[in-house]
Symmetry: C2
Subunit: 204 residues, 2 copies
């Protein structure tokens, strides 16, 4: 059975595919492989959960396939949860990760409370609608300046709890072990397994 | 911390409370104890998932508490999934379980495919919105006539796979072990645990 990831980002699809693993019994594919023509789905629901559910349900309905969709971002305590659902466009539309990080560090200049967390929500849907929703998070703090070259997004300014390096200073393997997406995906894996079992029909 | 169950059915609240267990670290209470004045929430979204999510999100927003809401029902293969989301009012509004069972057995009179399943969806929400959604199911077949006195709803006409008794012929302990609600609640328990961990704040 095919499982389509509601994303055109090949790196993300690869990461998800790797964490879900081969023995799950689904063929993971990206939106690009399945339906070139599907228009971009706007992430406009103002919550991570809403965006993930919206993407999963729309893509599953349009393709008829089982679909996994995620939405994730950074929440900073001293900023009341910002950048939150606007993480990717914090400094404005079409701005770079660097711009977003610069804006965040400026807002944090006089803040002694540096606590923050990355959160990830993952929704699963089939042609009949939403199957389930799970989440994962990793707690940490905002660094005083960007450090490291790996990863993307806010990785250079986020120091996970128990570490003294930013996500961008960790190898992708180290980050994968504790990341919010990994933690959500472990739960998503269980959800997909349950779903596949639920499809097995009984003898008449 | 309080966990309110979005139900005024004391039997249901008791069952949920029992399965969640005492060591979860939440104080389970019913909607009656928390907010007498909250109006009945209509289950009008035409999916189990939609109803569960709607109830959880509304009650959490109105009470400010962590809220668990479930929606469940019977799906019969030969009837294209009916009674489904209309399980409780299959024979019409304000009809009895007996009326629903009679209607179902009439529709199944000439059906050799007796396969069916009970499904249960459980949503968790807090004042910020939906936290997660999980599900559980139990497969079986529709009996040719009602049997047994225990349970409620379609229990007298549902024979779980691997058994030769209806749910209503099983003790509540036996039914609890394999029921759709139990299976969803085991997952909900994990979800609540994860949620409580996510609330622990980090040292500054």
């Amino acid at each position: 059975m095919k499982l389509v990831i509601a994303s055109r980002n090949s790196k993300k699809v690869e990461e998800i595919s790797r964490i879900l693993g081969k023995r799950l019994g689904v063929e993971v594919c990206s939106l690009v492989e399945v339906d070139e023509s599907l228009p971009e789905i706007e992430e406009d629901t103002d919550t991570f959960q809403g965006n993930a559910v919206k993407k999963a349900v729309i893509v599953a309905a349009k393709t008829g396939l089982l679909c996994l969709a995620d939405d994730s971002g950074l929440e900073v305590f001293a900023l009341g949860g910002k950048p939150g659902v606007y993480s990717a466009r914090f400094a404005g539309e079409h701005k770079s990760d660097k711009d977003n990080n610069r804006k965040l560090l400026e807002l944090m200049l006089n803040k002694s409370d540096r606590r923050a967390r990355f959160v990830c929500y993952i929704a699963l849907a089939d042609r009949d609608g939403l199957v389930g929703l799970v989440s994962g998070q990793v707690k940490g703090r905002i660094a005083f300046r960007p450090k490291g070259k790996n990863g993307f997004g806010y990785d250079p300014v986020f120091v996970p709890y128990g570490y003294d390096k930013t996500f961008a200073q960790l190898s992708s393997g180290e980050k994968d072990k504790i990341s919010h997406r990994r933690r959500a995906l472990v739960k998503a894996r269980r959800m997909i397994k349950d779903y596949l079992v639920s499809l097995d029909s009984l003898p008449l």
